[in-house]
Structure formats: C-alpha cells, structure tokens
Amino acid sequence: MSVLAYGILLFIVAFLIHLVIWRLHLPKKRTNALFLIFSFFLVLGISVIILRPGLIKWSLYPGISFFEIFQLFLLYTVLSVSYVLSYPAIEADSPTLIIIRAVFETGVAGLNKTGLKQIANNDLLILPRIKDMLTDNMVYLKDGKYRLKPKGMIMAKLFLFYRNIIKGGKGG
C-alpha cells in the first residue's frame, strides 16, 4: 500500500505548504501558484524515490518499478487536480452557494425573488469574474471593448467543442 500512502502523504504536505503560504501572503495569481506548489511536490516526491530509495520503506514490491512510479504520479496528479478544480468554489462567490446560503439564513420565513435579486447582482456575480479574466490573461480591454487573448481563445474553443459534442447550449 506504499503508493497510496506515499501519494496521500505528498498531497497533505503540499496542501499544508499551500495553507501556510496563503496565510502569510495571498498570491495574486492563485491558480498558477497552486499548480506551482503541487507540481513542485510531485517532482520532489518522485525524485526522492529515484535518488534516495532507502528513505522510503517500499513494502509492496521488492524493488521500485516504473509501474509503481506511474501509479504514484497518476494518483498524486488527480488528487492535486481535483483540489485545484474545487478551489474556485472555495475562493470565489459561487452563485449557487450564495443562493443556498441566503435562503438558509431566512429559515422558515423563506426568501422571495426580490430579496434574492438584491443579494445576487452584477456587481457580485459578473464584474469580479471579468476582473479575474483580466488578471488571468484570458481577456484584454482596449477602446472600451473586451477581447480574447490566446489563453482565453483556447479555453473558449475547448468548452465550445464539448458543448457542441453534447449538443448543449452556451451554458452558464
């Protein structure tokens, strides 16, 4: 069970370092910083196994095989990607969670649509996301118009491709 234990341990260490960094100084480009932290520990973890195999008690098999390293790579990567993908829901104000919290806070009295509109407006739901797209180099603003940068273009094409495959609408 070493691959599982080592993979989870690496992830926990990376998560704790991320926690410490976030408490000390919140990075401007948080998703990039997360990718950097988790990638660093992946490289470090695999390097330790290859260069200093004696440090890790590898009990599953007598030697360390490429198969086990690949399994570790896959396990750690999907653990990290799962967290990074979940991160925006923690960080940003998800409209669904805003609605649910607002309805929950009204308790048995319930919440009507007018109350909901006052809480969930463009200032809260749209403008911060546009600012994020500018910060993340997905769009740029010129002559009062927002236009796509190559990164934004790739994202738009990727998701549009998927939406076309499932014959879905624009989403949102």
């Binding site: 198969f67 796509l148 094409k157 624009k170 949102g172």
Partner: protein, 155 residues
C-alpha cells in the same frame, strides 16, 4: 504497464458513455448522464481489475474515482461557469464586447434564474407561495464545507 493506464482508459469509456447517454436520452438530464458514464467506467475497471493484483486494483479505483471527479468538474464548468460563458460570448462576437454588451447577453438575473431552475429541479430548493425554502441538504452541506475551507485558508 497497461494496468497503470487502466484508470485513464476507463475514464475515456466514462466520457464516451456520458456523451452518448446525454445525446440519446429523450429527457436531457446532465447530472444523470454524468452518473451513468461514471458507473459504466467503474464497472469496466472493476471487471478488468478483478483478475489482477488486489492492492494495485485499489489504487487504480481511487485514481479512477478522482479522474471521474475531475471530469464532473469539467462538465460542470462547461455548464455553469460564468467565465466560460463570457469567454464563449466574446469568442462568438465579431470584434469583442463592451461591458454593456456582455451584460445584455449574460447578467446576474440570468445567472440566478438558471440556478434557481436547477436547484428546484434537483430538489435542493422548494418554491412555495412565491418564496424559496431549503429542500434536500446536499448543496447546503457543500456550502458549509466551502465556508469552512475558506476560513481555514484565509483565517
């Protein structure tokens, strides 16, 4: 070596099953198609792994579940993410959009309306006498977990 690739191969089976299920279903329920694809992929993996090493199979199943979670997020982003919707609007525009043009295509009202419909359809919210109430607690629990994690990260 092929055994190590099994979670990825089964993810591809998952994606294929999900897309086919969603396209062919008379009633388009995205969440149902995601679960369908996930279990088709999991069934394929367990059937193959049954004949292989148990400890290795366990790791592969965990990796597959996490890959399934990543795919669920990808589908979720394509369906609900505000940034993705705005990127698609910009991509489909002739020469970019002003803020007012973006808001005329996609705004808080549309966002709230879409989510209210989804939450009511999934039973997470109840609409009674022109008011909304909490239904099933699943999303409420997710909201609680997100708040806790946010506090943990930001103090």
């Amino acid at each position: 070596m092929v055994e190590a690739l099994l979670p990825i191969i089964c993810l591809l089976i998952n994606v294929l099953a999900q897309v086919l299920n969603f396209r062919m279903a008379a009633k388009k329920r995205l969440l149902n198609s995601i679960f369908f694809g996930f279990f088709v992929g999991l069934f394929s993996l367990v059937t193959i792994e049954f004949q292989l090493d148990l400890a290795s199979a366990f790791i592969n199943i965990i990796s597959y579940v996490l890959l399934g979670y990543c795919y669920f997020h990808f589908v979720g982003l394509s369906e609900t993410a505000r940034r993705i919707r705005m990127l698609i609007e910009l991509y489909q525009s002739e020469d970019g959009l002003t803020l007012n043009e973006i808001l005329s295509r996609y705004n808080a009202e549309a966002i709230v309306e879409n989510r209210l419909n989804r939450l009511i359809n999934n039973g997470q919210l109840i609409f009674r006498e022109e008011k909304y109430f909490i239904g099933k607690p699943a999303v409420l629990l997710i909201a609680g977990a997100a708040t806790l994690l946010k506090r943990l990260l930001h103090g």
